[in-house]
């Protein structure tokens, strides 16, 4: 069994015990290592520590319970092994910048970045030898994207771009509107930068506000884009960096002919 499989098995063990009183020692014992060695390995493979992952998974499931059930927050917190509602609220606020009581009244959670269970495919993707991120912080002025919205995962960009005749075609943009959608139905606006007021036919015009971004260059294909976004939001970007109003990602495609495996450029709004 390689390290990725071993760590994946540990995440499965954690998943089965989210409502049980387990310690880091139990997770390390189950894997057959000391806490120190296991924690180091877990961090190397996932980017998180075992305890951090356990807590983030519990809090993410608690979000679902708060939204979808009438259960009291005190019961939800005890159910997920928090000693008392205060500890739960503190941990919840630290992860989501929102109190559980507020979530219960507002029931709006689309913007919350939940910790998804780590799949084997995800772990294989982020541990590939050529998975290297180049990043930089940039400031961009406001601009408008004019284009078409699609949820097609295949390369239909040419068709869309061809429909957008008469606009500047230096490079085009893909605006991922719901990048953390886990069922692979990511809605995208594909189009060009365009500051006219004219919105022909079925096109959509989106104003992107002046914004600070974390710019990433990374290798990715259509097939592992979900994993990349999951990694960026749930592991690499700290919560307080992320623009909390609505998670969206912009991709700048400099040449539609480039191979998908080449470095791609993504901007993630940060605060």
């Amino acid at each position: 069994m390689n390290n990725i499989e071993m760590i994946y098995n540990s995440t499965q063990f954690i998943e089965k015990n989210l409502k049980n009183k387990i310690m880091v020692q139990d997770i390390a014992d189950q894997a057959g290592y000391s806490i120190y060695y296991f924690s180091r390995l877990f961090n190397k493979i996932t980017g998180l520590s075992p305890y951090e992952y356990l807590i983030k998974r519990r809090l993410s499931l608690a979000v679902n319970k708060i939204i979808t059930t009438e259960d009291k927050i005190i019961d939800i917190s005890l159910n997920y092994q928090f000693n008392n509602p205060e500890t739960f609220s503190r941990a919840f606020y630290k992860m989501f910048h929102l109190l559980p009581s507020k979530l219960k009244t507002r029931k709006i959670y689309e913007h919350l970045i939940l910790q998804q269970p780590l799949s084997k495919q995800f772990l294989n993707y982020i541990n590939q030898e050529n998975f290297k991120l180049e990043y930089d912080e940039i400031n961009e002025n406001a601009f408008t994207i004019l284009g078409y919205i699609t949820n097609d995962n295949k390369d239909s960009h040419y068709d869309i771009l061809n429909k957008l005749n008469g606009v500047s075609k230096k490079h085009y943009f893909i605006l991922y509107l719901n990048p953390l959608q886990s069922d692979r139905k990511i809605f995208k606006l594909i189009g060009y930068k365009n500051n006219d007021n004219h919105t022909p036919g079925n096109t959509v015009r989106k104003l992107i506000p002046a914004q600070r971004y974390m710019k990433f260059k990374v290798q990715a294909t259509h097939y592992n884009l979900n994993y990349l976004f999951q990694y960026l939001y749930q592991i690499k970007l700290k919560q307080y960096y992320i623009n909390k109003t609505h998670p969206y990602i912009i991709e700048i495609v400099f040449d539609p002919n480039v191979d998908n495996l080449n470095k791609r450029t993504f901007w993630i709004p940060i605060s």
């Binding site: 310690m23 880091v24 020692q25 057959g32 290592y33 000391s34 806490i35 120190y36 060695y37 296991f38 924690s39 180091r40 877990f42 961090n43 980017g47 998180l48 520590s49 075992p50 305890y51 951090e52 990043y135 592991i235 700290k238």
Partner: protein, 170 residues
């Protein structure tokens, strides 16, 4: 693993520490964990402030001490101290912390090459210690680095010693 059993007098140490879960997703953008950052912080300070370490002895020795907290088993939280040996703790710079390593019997395990990166804690604590005539005198362990350690990039040629404070079982 077979250790040497030695008696060691108390030692004064000057260095820096970290308390917490060093493997938690941190604020840095590199891949290093907090222990790596602690070593970088200490080594930079040591290099830039030699006067603060004028009482340093054994100039080729630096050490890392692992001190488990009460929350170690539940949360994976512990203290790591990295530092050097000094003959007297007359000045403790504001950027540093000091430790007195207690006089004790120590079991000294020498780790060579890839063994340095292995799960030696499990071997020592789950295998050697329960079968030995000893128990822990204090709950910490030390990694001693001297000129036998050539760096993580030359692990095959490197050696370090692990010191475990022990006492005979009664």
């Amino acid at each position: 693993m077979k250790p040497k059993i030695i008696e060691m007098e108390s030692l004064s140490l000057l260095g820096m520490n970290f308390y917490g879960d060093p493997f938690k997703n941190n604020n840095f953008w590199d891949e290093e964990n907090e222990i790596g950052h602690l070593w970088n912080r200490f080594n930079n300070y040591l290099k830039n402030n030699p006067k603060d370490f004028s009482r340093r002895v054994k100039s080729d020795v630096s050490l890392e001490i692992f001190i488990p907290s009460d929350d170690y088993a539940t949360h994976g939280v512990f203290e790591v101290f990295v530092g050097v040996i000094v003959d007297k703790l007359d000045i403790i710079p504001i950027n540093c912390v000091a430790k007195n390593l207690p006089k004790s019997t120590y079991a000294v395990f020498t780790l060579k090459g890839e063994k340095i990166n292995s799960d030696w804690q499990k071997e020592i604590f789950s295998e050697w210690l329960p079968q030995s005539d000893y128990e822990l005198n204090y709950n910490f362990n030390i990694q001693f680095y001297d000129n036998r350690f050539k760096g993580m990039d030359q692990l095959a040629k490197s050696e370090i010693d692990i010191y475990l404070p022990i006492i005979k079982k009664v």
